[in-house]
Each structure stands twice: as C-alpha cells, then as structure tokens.
C-alpha cells in the first residue's frame, strides 16, 4: 500500500463520520480539526472504524498521531501493511 492509498482509506472513513463536510480539498499537513468540524467524539468513531474495517488498533496514547492526514498516513501505513501481510 502507498501513502496515498492509505490517505484515501482514512478519507473514506472521515466521509462517513463527518458526512456534511467537503473533503475534496483537505490539506495533508494541516490538522484535520482546523479544516473540518471534527470533535473528540468523532476521533473515537474514526478509531472504531479503523478497528472494524481494517483490524487496526490505535491506542489512546497514539490518538495525537491522527491529527493530520499526513500524520495519519505516516502512523497508519505500517499498520495497514502489517494487517494485510
């Protein structure tokens, strides 16, 4: 899996968690909460969807790693690859 593919999977989840948001122009380096109406409960939903859809666990101590799309990809890519191995 590439980083871009990883980002797309994250965006797929965000589109369900925040269905009113326009996700067509997310800046990867900027924190998601600065671009979108997302609160801490939404991040819990994102974590749940990663678990349900992809079997990926994100411990609470790592939640900050999901801050931006770029940091999501960096953090999650090895997990996606491990899950698919």
């Amino acid at each position: 899996m590439t980083k871009e593919e990883c980002k797309k999977l994250v965006i797929d989840i965000i589109s369900d968690i925040a269905p009113d948001e326009d996700l067509s122009d997310i800046k990867p380096e900027i924190r998601l909460r600065e671009q979108l109406q997302l609160d801490s409960m939404d991040f819990l939903d994102i974590v749940m969807e990663l678990r349900k859809r992809h079997g990926i666990e994100v411990p609470e101590a790592d939640y900050m790693r999901l801050a931006s799309l770029e940091s999501c990809a960096e953090y999650l890519l090895p997990k996606f690859n491990a899950a698919r191995a």
Binding site: I17, A18, P19, D20, M41, K52
Partner: protein, 412 residues
C-alpha cells in the same frame, strides 16, 4: 386561584400516511392507510407503519448519524410545530421553553443494533459504540430536540407505555399552569418498528397483526382482527397560556379542557375496563363537563381481540345514559399503533373536526364484531355531524396506565 387556560397553537407531525396535518387529515377522510411491510431482523416481513419525512430538512447528516430515529422524528415534528405556530425562537427566552415528549420505550432499537453489531465481531465488546449511552438514556429524544433548537429549559421524556402521547400534552399543561415554563413543545414519538423485540414480544403474546394485505392488517372492531401493527411516528404541539397566545395573535387549534391519568393495578398486560371507564369519567369531570358535552371519542383500540372489546365496554358504560351517542372512531386502523406517538397523533387527526365537523372513520371493518358494536361508531366512511365542540382522546398502556385527554373548541 383559577387555573390558566392552555391552548394549542401549533402542530407538527409525521405519520405513516402523512407528514403534515393537512396530508394526514386528507388521508384519514379518504380512507388511505399508511401501512406497508418491512423486513424485521430475525423475523422476516411484517406489516408496519413507517414515515417518509425527510430528516435532513432540519438536521445535518452528522446529527442523524449520531442521534436516534426517535430524535429525528422529534426534531422534525417540533420544528414543524414551531413553524406552524409562527414562533421565532430567537425572539424568545429559551430558558423558559419546556420540551415534554411521551415515549412508550426508548433504547431498545439502539441496544439491539449494538448487540447485532458486536455479533458480527464474535461478541467482542471493543466494537460496542461509545454512542450507545447518549442514544439510550431515557431523555434522549427530548434532549435531541433541545440540542437542535437551542432551548435551555427542561427537556425530558415521559415514559407511559402507549398512553404516553396524551401524557406529553397533559404534563405540558401542568408545567404551564405551574409557571415552570412559558411555552411548551409537547407530544409523543415512536421509533418502535426498528426494534425486533417489540414485534417478537407481541408475536409471542399472540398479539401481532398478520394479513396478506398490509393495509388491512390493522382492523380494530372487525371480527377478523388478529393483533397490533407496529408503527413509528410523532405528533408534537406548541402549547401556551391563553393570554400569551392571544397577545401574539396566535392561531388557536383548541383548548385543553380536562384530563385524567390513572392505573388499573390489576395486570401487567391485560386492560381493565372499569378503570378505563373511571379514567374517562374523571377526565370529563375534570373538564367541568358531562357526558352530554362530548361529541367525538377517539378510541385507543389496537386491533387485539380482547382489548378492543374491553374498551368498547368501558365507553358504552360511560355514555349509555345519552340518548344520542357521541361519534366514536379509531385512527390506528389507518396508521397502526404508533406507540408513544399514538395518543398525540390520533388527537391531531381529529382536531380539524372542530372546523369541518366531519368525523373520520375507523376503516377495515368488513364485519363488525358484535361485541364491539356500540352506538356511535363511525365505520368505513366519514360522517358529517352537527356539532364538534369537545374531543375525547383515549390512550391506554401496559402495566395498566390509562389516559384520557379532552380538547374543546376554543372560544375567547
């Protein structure tokens, strides 16, 4: 001190056969059922009453995702009622607005969904959503309304089985009279078709309706009736003290005349016609009326073999001294049993009778059960009547809760 006069100034509703009062009423007069069928989890297809309103008219997609069906129904009805009442919340003290919603039950749908969800993950509870608790707390539908409207006064539900729709209105009347609030948003709601447990429970009780034609499945008073059609829906009213409504030139649908809530104290499920009759009589007395003053009786009858007979016995006992009986009808024959919404929705369907003096019928009576053949029943066709000045609305529920609400024609 005389009690404040409480008036109805707005109506918002969604029923299986209408998403506005006008559409609902038109279908009640034209004999149009709203019952269809739905796939019930684990149980196959069953008759049910489902609503077709658009939740996104008043909610964001995210709020629909996070909230409950009961919340969406409540928000739709509350917003429609406010629009109908011509009330601008921005110009009001939102801390003086109360939201009081009757519910038969709440939380079954959301809990069943989560149990089903974790069943797909070998019952590992780490897949159980954190939304479960806010979705299932008993005040949830009313809380969703307060979130949506930004009202900061009391907002809670009244759990009263299938008597709950009336209780929302009764409780609002009491709170307005006590001066606890200045404006009330009140009624009843139901999301019950989304829970298989209610279907399964009634089926095990031999009280779930079955019919090849779903529009014929709910048939109170008919000899071939065989049980309840479970429905969703909501009816929410705006209620105000008369002087407040008058001061703003509000349209007034009717005035709360009187009510009674009592308990059978006899059985978990089986109704008690003596206590039902007592509830009706006490409501009439509370209204300062006699049986002669009641023009229209909307029955609770749910299309169960025994329950319909018992309510007919109760009504016949109350009104037997009258030479000409009041008109008696039933709305569940069109919409099924909308549970917590039933009393409030059924009242709404009859309120226009104050204006048009027409009583909508109870439909699907192909062969009237002789044990339900009481004077005054309006069967299959609407009936024009000389006078509709007082409507008596019955709603009864499990654990023996009975409610009767009387609305009278408004006269300044």
């Amino acid at each position: 001190m005389p009690l404040s006069r409480i008036v109805i100034t707005g109506v918002g509703l969604t029923a299986p056969n209408g998403n506005t009062l006008a559409e609902f009423r038109r279908n009640l007069l034209n004999g149009v059922s709203g019952i269809t069928t739905m796939e019930v989890r684990y149980m196959g297809r069953h008759p049910a009453g489902l609503c077709t309103f658009d939740p996104l008219k008043y909610q964001k997609k995210k709020d629909v995702r996070i909230g409950t069906r009961a919340g969406s129904i409540s928000i739709y009805c509350a917003r429609e009622a406010l629009a109908d009442a011509g009330v601008d919340l921005a110009a009001r003290d939102r801390s003086r607005i109360g939201v009081y919603l009757g519910i038969t039950e709440h939380g079954n749908v959301e809990t069943e969904n989560e149990v089903y969800n974790i069943s797909q993950f070998k019952y590992d509870v780490k897949f159980w959503t954190h939304h479960h608790n806010p979705r299932t707390v008993a005040n949830s539908p009313a809380g969703e309304v307060s979130l949506n409207l930004g009202t900061t006064g009391p907002a809670y539900t009244i759990g009263a089985a299938c008597a709950a729709g009336n209780l929302g209105l009764i409780h609002a009347t009491q709170m307005l009279r006590l001066g606890e609030v200045d404006f009330a948003i009140a009624g009843g709601v139901s999301e019950s078709p989304q829970t298989f447990g209610i279907f399964a429970g009634f089926k095990s009780q031999n009280a779930l309706a079955a019919h090849a034609d779903p529009t014929k499945a709910s048939r109170p008073f008919d000899k071939a009736r065989n049980g309840i059609v479970i429905s969703e829906g909501g009816a929410i009213y705006t209620l105000e003290r008369f002087e407040d409504a008058q001061a703003r030139g509000a349209k007034i649908y009717g005035e709360i005349a009187g009510y009674c809530v009592n308990s059978d104290a006899t059985d978990y499920v089986l109704p008690n016609p003596e206590r039902q009759a007592e509830c009706v009589r006490k409501a009439i007395a509370h209204a300062g009326m006699t049986v002669e003053d009641i023009d229209l009786v909307n029955t609770h009858a749910t299309s169960t073999p025994q329950g319909d007979i018992q309510e007919c016995q109760a009504i016949a006992a109350v009104f037997r001294e009258r030479s000409e009986p009041p008109a008696i009808n039933n709305t569940k024959s069109f919409i099924g049993h909308a549970m917590g919404a039933a009393g409030a929705l059924e009242l709404a369907g009859n309120l226009p009778s104050f204006d048009d003096r027409v009583v909508h019928p109870t439909i699907n009576v192909d062969e009237l059960d002789p044990q339900c053949d009481i004077p005054g029943l309006v069967i299959n066709q609407p009936r024009a009547v000389k006078r509709v000045d007082a409507i008596l609305n019955n709603s009864f529920g499990m654990l023996g809760i009975n409610s009767t609400l009387i609305i009278k024609r408004f006269r300044a």
